[in-house]
C-alpha cells in the first residue's frame, strides 16, 4: 500500500507524462486537491519513490529563469504504475458498496 502523499505524487507525475519536475508536480497536486504542499515535501517524497524504484529521473538543462540551475524531470516506472494500480484498486474495493454520499471513482 502506498501512502496518500505517494499516491498523489505518482498520479501527478503520470499526468505530466515524463516532463514533470518538483514545482510542476506540486502545482498539479494543488490544482486537483487544493492542498498547497511545500516543495521540500514534494522532493522528499520523490526521493523516497525513486529509492523504491517507483519513479525514474533525468537531469534537464539549466535555465536562466531558475537562476542558472537545472531541473530534475521525473517519470513513473512500470513498477510504479503497478504499485499505484494495486493501491487504488484496494481502495476501490474497500469503498465498494459503502454509501458515503458520493459516487465512487
Amino acid at each position: 500500500m502506498l501512502a496518500e502523499l505517494e499516491q498523489a505524487v505518482l498520479l501527478a507525475t503520470l499526468r505530466l507524462d515524463g516532463e514533470g519536475y518538483g514545482l510542476t508536480i506540486r502545482d498539479e497536486i494543488a490544482r486537483a486537491t487544493g492542498r498547497d504542499l511545500a516543495i521540500g515535501t514534494i522532493h522528499k517524497t520523490l526521493t523516497r519513490l525513486e529509492v523504491k524504484e517507483l519513479v525514474a529521473s533525468r537531469m534537464g538543462a539549466a535555465s536562466p529563469h531558475r537562476g542558472g540551475r537545472a531541473k530534475r524531470h521525473y517519470a513513473v516506472t512500470a513498477l510504479g504504475v503497478r504499485e499505484l494500480k494495486a493501491t487504488l484498486r484496494s481502495i476501490q474495493r474497500l469503498a465498494a458498496g459503502l454509501r458515503l454520499g458520493f459516487d465512487p471513482p
Binding site: G40, K44, A70
Partner: protein
C-alpha cells in the same frame, strides 16, 4: 538572479544534501521569480518559508521514516497544541521534577526580571519628555581630556549662538532657596535657569505661565515657578497662588506658575522651585572661567549626538583660539541628558544586571541537565513510541514543548518572585539613584519576563532533543538497558562544569567587592568619625544683613548646642569631609614665589569656628590649634595646613611660622601656626587632598552657609534631635535642616558598593546552590550506573574508603575543569567591576584562590552523598542485579 534574496538560498546551499541541492534551489528560485512579478512581498515570505521547510524536511529529518507527515500550517498548529497538552500530562506525572525545575527557573527569572525593572527605567527608557533622544548636555573638555559639565555663562552663550545643531538650550545653576513668611521658614533645593529651560525640555507649567525672555534679565527676575509637590505641601494646592508674592532668601518674588506632578526634573531630582538666571554679558558671574553652570540642550531633528559633538568641539577650538587664557584647549562636546543623569549609578546597575544574567544561565543549564537526565531515563518510552510510528521529529517537538511549558511555568513563578523582590530591592538602592520613582513591575518588565522564559524554554527543550536525536538514542528498544553513553555523560559533565565556572565568577565578584569594602571601611579618613552629629546651618533674611550678625549667630548656636547634655564639643565650618562639596583655593608660600601663580597647589579651604580641629579629632602633628585670641580677633591672620600641603610647599622643611596667601595678591598673608593630619575630603576612595584651616572672623567674608559638627559622649543618633532643637531655639524663624551622623554620611558614600555586594552575595548563594544540585545530579547518576562496578571492586577486596575516594576524585576533576574556565571568566568580570573595586586588583591571587576554595568545597560537599552510597555498596546485591 541578483533579485533573489541571498540568505535563504545560502541557507539551502549550506544545509541541503548534495544530490537534491541543485534541483530544489532551482525550483524555489523559479517559483520566487514567477511570483515576485506580481506579489514581491508574498514571494519573499514564501521563499523563506519554503527554504526553512525544505531544509528541515530534507536535511534534519531522516528519509527512512515510514509515514512521512506532510508539512502544512494547519497540521503544524495541531501538532503544537497536541504537544503542549502532552507536555502538561507528562510533567503533571513527574511532580517532584517539575517542582524543582519551576522553582529553579522561577528564582532565576524572577531575579532577572526584578533587576531589569530597575535597570530599564533608570538606564534604558527615555526621559519623560517629547523626543528625549534629542535632549543632551554640552560640556567643556579639560586639557587632560576630562569632561567638565560646568561652564561659564559667556561660553554657553557663545556655543548656543554659534551652533547650528541646537534648536533650543538653557543654562542651569544651583539655588538653595529659603522660603520665609506665613508658616515656618523652609529650605528647599531650586534651580536658576535660562528662560528657555522648560521649553527646551518640551514641557510647561500646569498652572500659570512659563518664563519669558523679559524675566531673564538682572532686574526683571523677581518671579518663580513652583513644583507640584511644593505647591501642594506648603500652599495646600491653592490655585490663587498665581500672582502671590512670597519671601525667598529675603527677596520678594512673584509666583507665576506651577509645574505638573508628572514633571520629572532631569537635572536635579529634588528641585522644587525655579527662577530665571538673569545673567548678562559682563555680569559679575558671567565670565568664561566662572565655570558653575550646567545646561540642557535640545538638538534639531535629525542631528545625531555625534554630529553635534563634532560641531561643539569645533566651536570650543575657535573659542580657545580667540581666548587662549580662558580655555585649556581641550575642546568640548555633548552627551545624552539621560546618560549624564544616570552616569553615577551606571556601573553598579550594569554589574548587577550582568550578575543576574549569570544566575539565569546557571539555572537554565541546571534545568537542561535535569531534563537531559530524565530523557535518558525515558529512552524506552521513546523507543516504544517510535516503534508505534511516531517520527523522530515528533519526539523532538515533544521534548521542546516540555521545555517550553517548564520555562513558562518558571516564568510565571518568576514574576511572582519579582513582585516580592522588587520592593525590597528598591528600598536598598542608594539614595542617589535617579528616576527611582519610576521603578515598577510594569508591562515592559512582564514582556521581558515572557521573552526570557520562551528563550530559556526553547534552549532547555532543544538540548535533550539534539543530544538524543543526534546519537540515535530514540531507537534503543532492542537493548532495554538504561546505560548512559560516554558521550552523553560528557554533555552532562559539560553543563556542570559551566555551572561551576559561572558560579566561580559570581563568588569571585563577591570576594572582590567584599575585600574592596573592607579595605575602604578600614581607610583612615583623617578624623574620628564616630559620635559626630552633622547638620547644615544657614541664617539668612533681613536680620543677618548687618556686618557681624552672622558670626554672632554662629556663637549663639555653638553656645546653645554646647549646653545640650551629651555634647562634648561643637564647632562650625564651611566644609565637612565626605560631603562632596568643593571650595578650593590656590595656596602660595611667601618664601617660594612662583612664576606661574596658577601652578600653586590648591587646597580645601575650611573657614572654621573655634574648636573645629578638636571636635573633629584631627591630629595636630606640629605646632598648635588656634588660640582663643586668634579666633576672636579679626585682624590676626593665622592658618593651619595639612601635612601634605606643608610638604608640598616646603619639602623637608618646617612649615611653622611661614607665610601663605590664598587666592590672589589682593588678599592678606597668613602665618602658619600648626600642621594637622591629612583628611580624606572628597571620599574614602579618593586620593588625599590638601587642606588649609582659617578662623572665620579673620576670613574676608562672613560665611552664612555652614556645617555644624558636635562631638557626643554616647550614641550620636540619640543626641541629634536635641542638637536640632538647640539650633532652632536660637532663631525659630530660620529654616531647620535634619541632622545626620558622620556614620550615616560614611554609609551613604559606600552605599553603591554595599548594594552591589549584598545583591552579588545573594546571587552567588543561589548560584552555588544550583551548581551544587547540578554536581549532585551528575554524580548521583554516575554512581547508580556504576553500582555493579563498585560491587565488583568491593567483592575483589577494595575497601569502602577507596571507593569513596574514587567518586570524590571524579567530582574533584569536574570542579577543577570548571575552575580553570571560570578563572578566566572571573578575571574578565573583575575588569568589568572596575570602578566598584577599591585597592584590590581584579586578578588578585588571594581573592581568586579564596573563591576557588569555596567553589571546590561546595562541589565536594555535593559529591559526599553519592560517594557514600557507592562506598556502602553490598557486593552481593551488585552481583545479583543482572
Amino acid at each position: 538572479m541578483s533579485r533573489v534574496p541571498r540568505i535563504p538560498v545560502a541557507i539551502l546551499e549550506a544545509l541541503l544534501p548534495e544530490e537534491s541541492r541543485e534541483v530544489v534551489i532551482g525550483d524555489l528560485v523559479e517559483e520566487y521569480l514567477e511570483l515576485e512579478r506580481r506579489h514581491p512581498l508574498r514571494a519573499r515570505w514564501r521563499l523563506w518559508r519554503e527554504a526553512v521547510g525544505a531544509a528541515v524536511s530534507l536535511q534534519l529529518l531522516p528519509t527512512r521514516v515510514p509515514a512521512f507527515t506532510p508539512y502544512t500550517m494547519e497540521s503544524l498548529v495541531q501538532t503544537i497544541v497536541g504537544d503542549l497538552r502532552q507536555a502538561f500530562r507528562v510533567l503533571g506525572r513527574a511532580r517532584g521534577f517539575t517542582a524543582l525545575c519551576v522553582l529553579t527557573l522561577g528564582v532565576a527569572i524572577g531575579a532577572t526580571t526584578a533587576i531589569f525593572s530597575v535597570v530599564n527605567p533608570v538606564l534604558i527608557r527615555g526621559l519623560p519628555f517629547p523626543h528625549p533622544e534629542r535632549l543632551v548636555a554640552a560640556y567643556e573638555r579639560g586639557a587632560d581630556g576630562s569632561r567638565n559639565e560646568r561652564m561659564g555663562w559667556e561660553t554657553f552663550a557663545d556655543v548656543r549662538r554659534a551652533s547650528k545643531s541646537i534648536e533650543s538650550a538653557a543654562p542651569v545653576g544651583s539655588w538653595e532657596a529659603t522660603i520665609f513668611g506665613e508658616r515656618d521658614a523652609e529650605r528647599v533645593s531650586g534651580e536658576r535657569v535660562g528662560w528657555q529651560y522648560f521649553k527646551t525640555l518640551g514641557t510647561h507649567p500646569m498652572l500659570g505661565r512659563d518664563f519669558v525672555a523679559e524675566d531673564d534679565t538682572p532686574d526683571g527676575s523677581g518671579v518663580v515657578i513652583l513644583s507640584y509637590a511644593l505647591w501642594r505641601r506648603r500652599y495646600g494646592g491653592d490655585s490663587s497662588i498665581l500672582g502671590r508674592v512670597i519671601d525667598v532668601n529675603g527677596i520678594k518674588r512673584t509666583v507665576i506658575g506651577v509645574m505638573p506632578s508628572s514633571f520629572e526634573n532631569a537635572t536635579l531630582r529634588e528641585a522644587q522651585m525655579w527662577r530665571p538666571l538673569g545673567y548678562v554679558l559682563g555680569g559679575a558671574s558671567s565670565c568664561r572661567t566662572c565655570r558653575h553652570l550646567t545646561n540642557v540642550v535640545r538638538l534639531k531633528p535629525g542631528v545625531s549626538v555625534e554630529r553635534a559633538s563634532r560641531e561643539i568641539d569645533l566651536i570650543f577650538a575657535q573659542l580657545a583660539a580667540s581666548h587662549p587664557k580662558e580655555y585649556a584647549g581641550g575642546g568640548g562636546g555633548v552627551v545624552g541628558l539621560q546618560e549624564r543623569v544616570t552616569q553615577s549609578v551606571r556601573p553598579v546597575l550594569l554589574t548587577l544586571f550582568g550578575a543576574v544574567l549569570l544566575v539565569l544561565l546557571i539555572a537554565a543549564a541546571n534545568v537542561a541537565n535535569l531534563q537531559l537526565a530524565r530523557a535518558f531515563r525515558r529512552q524506552e518510552e521513546f523507543a516504544v513510541r517510535m516503534a508505534l510510528g511516531a517520527g523522530r521529529s515528533r519526539l523532538t517537538q515533544q521534548l521542546a514543548a516540555e521545555g517550553l511549558v517548564l520555562a513558562l511555568a518558571g516564568g510565571a513563578a518568576g514574576v511572582a518572585f519579582a513582585a516580592a523582590l522588587l520592593p525590597a530591592l528598591a528600598s536598598r538602592l542608594p539614595a542617589n539613584v535617579p528616576r527611582a520613582e519610576s521603578i515598577a513591575l510594569d508591562w515592559r518588565a512582564l514582556a521581558f519576563a515572557v521573552v526570557i522564559s520562551v528563550g530559556v524554554g526553547v534552549a532547555i527543550g532543544l538540548v535533550p532533543a539534539v543530544q538524543l536525536g543526534g546519537r540515535g538514542m530514540f531507537d534503543s528498544l532492542r537493548g532495554g538497558r538504561r546505560t548512559v553513553g560516554a558521550a552523553s555523560r560528557r554533555t552532562r559533565a559539560a553543563f556542570v562544569v559551566s555551572e561551576m565556572a559561572l558560579a566561580l565568577m559570581l563568588v569571585t565578584g563577591v570576594a572582590l567587592l567584599g575585600r574592596s569594602l573592607t579595605k575602604l571601611l578600614g581607610v583612615n579618613p583623617g578624623f574620628d568619625g564616630s559620635h559626630l552629629v552633622v547638620m547644615p546651618v544657614r541664617a539668612g533674611g533681613v536680620t543677618y544683613q548687618a556686618p557681624g550678625t552672622t558670626l554672632q549667630n554662629h556663637d549663639r548656636i555653638r553656645d546653645a548646642v554646647a549646653a545640650v547634655p551629651g555634647v562634648l564639643s561643637v564647632s562650625l565650618s564651611t566644609e565637612i569631609p565626605l560631603t562632596a562639596n568643593v571650595d578650593r583655593y590656590g595656596v602660595q608660600a611667601q618664601d617660594k614665589p612662583l612664576d606661574h601663580p596658577e601652578l600653586a597647589p590648591s587646597a580645601d579651604r575650611y573657614t572654621v569656628s573655634p574648636d573645629f580641629i578638636r571636635t573633629m579629632r584631627i591630629p595636630m602633628l606640629r605646632g598648635r590649634d588656634f588660640s582663643p585670641a586668634e579666633t576672636r580677633d579679626s585682624s590676626i591672620h593665622v592658618a593651619i595646613v595639612s601635612a601634605d600641603l606643608a610638604n608640598k610647599l616646603w619639602p623637608g622643611e618646617d612649615a611653622i611660622g611661614r607665610q601663605i596667601r590664598l587666592s590672589d595678591a589682593k588678599r592678606p598673608w597668613w602665618r602658619v601656626i600648626g600642621v594637622a593630619g591629612n583628611v580624606r575630603h572628597m571620599g574614602l576612595d579618593e586620593v588625599v587632598s590638601l587642606q588649609v584651616y582659617v578662623p572665620e572672623r579673620a576670613w574676608w567674608d562672613e560665611e552664612s552657609d555652614m556645617m555644624l559638627v558636635a562631638r557626643t559622649a554616647g550614641d550620636a543618633k540619640r543626641v541629634a534631635s536635641a542638637v536640632r532643637a538647640a539650633v532652632r531655639s536660637v532663631d525659630p524663624r530660620q529654616p531647620i535642616a535634619t541632622p545626620s551622623t558622620m556614620d550615616e554620611i560614611v554609609d551613604l558614600s559606600t552605599a553603591q558598593r554595599r548594594v552591589a555586594l549584598t545583591v552579588f552575595a545573594f546571587f552567588s548563594a543561589i548560584a552555588l546552590l544550583l551548581a551544587m544540585g547540578g554536581v549532585y545530579g551528575v554524580m548521583s547518576g554516575a554512581v547508580t550506573e556504576r553500582m555493579r562496578e563498585f560491587g565488583l571492586r568491593a567483592a575483589l577486596g577494595a575497601n569502602p574508603s577507596g571507593i569513596l575516594r574514587l567518586v570524590l576524585r571524579d567530582g574533584l576533576s569536574l570542579a577543577l575543569v570548571g575552575l580553570a574556565i571560570g578563572g578566566a571568566g572571573a578575571v574578565l568580570l573583575g575588569r568589568y567591576l572596575g570602578s566598584l573595586l577599591y585597592a584590590v586588583e581584579p586578578r588578585d591571587p588571594v581573592t581568586l584562590g579564596l573563591a576557588g576554595v569555596v567553589v571546590v568545597s561546595t562541589s565536594l560537599l555535593a559529591c559526599v552523598v553519592p560517594a557514600r552510597r557507592a562506598a556502602r555498596v553490598d557486593p552481593m546485591t551488585a552481583l545479583r542485579s543482572d
